[in-house]
């Protein structure tokens, strides 16, 4: 039987109040556009509350990585509130510094090379966690434990 392809949901806060939200959004988009386009699924965070059953079910059944701009960790907390524990968590302010992350709201039109470097740095960390989840999901075959990682393989993760 062909194994179902593993998808990972990357849930960004995309917060409008601070620069970290914009960085989180763009790093998540980079996963979809460039880094892991075949396996990344994004989820509109507000749909968790607005009745998006597909989003809630996806996040229950597949691994998710929450990407948050600031310490409020809204993406992580909302995902766990409505769907279940996340498999990975990236806090932008840990990577680019609290002052930068909690700086004024940032339009994508005002992105500087420095901002782009922040996006790249966050995307590297998302990718690291992404690949670790992939490895755990597909490289630990076990015959007795049913698949629970969402990839459909017969692994013990």
């Amino acid at each position: 039987m062909e194994a179902k392809e593993l998808k990972i949901g990357v849930v960004s806060c995309s917060g409008e109040d601070c620069a970290g939200g914009t960085i989180s959004r763009l790093a998540t988009r980079k996963m979809m556009d460039e880094l892991r386009p075949d396996n990344t699924v994004t989820i509109c965070l507000p749909l968790f509350l607005a009745g998006g059953q597909e989003e809630r079910m996806f996040a229950k059944e597949y691994p998710t990585i929450a990407v948050d701009g600031c310490a409020k960790a809204c993406a992580k907390r909302a995902t766990e509130k409505y769907s279940g524990q996340v498999s990975g968590f990236v806090l932008v302010s840990d990577l680019i510094g609290k002052a930068a992350a909690e700086g004024p709201a940032l339009s994508t039109r005002d992105l500087t090379a420095e901002h782009q470097a922040m996006v790249d740095k966050v995307a590297v960390e998302i990718t690291r966690q992404f690949d670790a989840i992939m490895d755990a999901g597909c490289q630990k075959p076990g015959n007795e434990t049913p698949a629970s990682c969402g990839c459909g393989c017969n692994c013990s993760c």
Binding site: E16, L26, T42, C44, A50, C74, S107, T108
Partner: protein, 136 residues
């Protein structure tokens, strides 16, 4: 109850389609450039958490929502948390006035996309001004 006394312009910021980015940019443009003294924005993700502090910031406050798709996540979420939704904008309604337009992607807008965003922001500003004028 801590509030800014400003009209809150809250976009969906949907991740999957260009219309979510347009909603986000229009809200930012209105709140930070067109009428920063009368409007501000608020993270919809924070509202979605249901935190007491988030609720306290929005309950009974005048709000304008702007959504990128028919799911209307911003309008529904803000209303569910007790915000006083004065207007529900839909990016798709504006896009009907620009048939064939190529506004960009959910990652980046084209010049055409920015032109439409500024048009939406202008409408947001008008509504903000009207709300601020009500009852004064």
């Amino acid at each position: 109850m801590p509030t800014s006394g400003k009209v809150k312009v809250i976009p969906c910021s949907g991740m999957g389609k260009v219309y979510g980015l347009m909603a986000r940019e229009a809200a930012l443009y209105a709140a930070t450039r067109l009428c920063p003294d009368k409007a501000d924005t608020m993270c919809l993700a924070y509202i979605v958490t249901g935190d007491a502090d988030a609720e306290a910031s929005i309950v009974n406050q005048p709000c304008i929502t702007i959504d990128g798709c028919p799911a209307m996540c911003s309008a529904k979420s803000v209303a569910a948390m007790g915000g006083d939704v004065k207007e529900q904008f839909k990016v798709l309604d504006v896009m009907k006035e620009h048939k064939g337009a190529r506004p960009g992607t959910a990652t980046a807008l084209t010049d055409e996309g920015w032109t439409i965003v500024e048009k939406i922001a202008g409408r947001l500003e008008s509504r903000v001004q009207a709300i601020c004028g009500e009852g004064r």
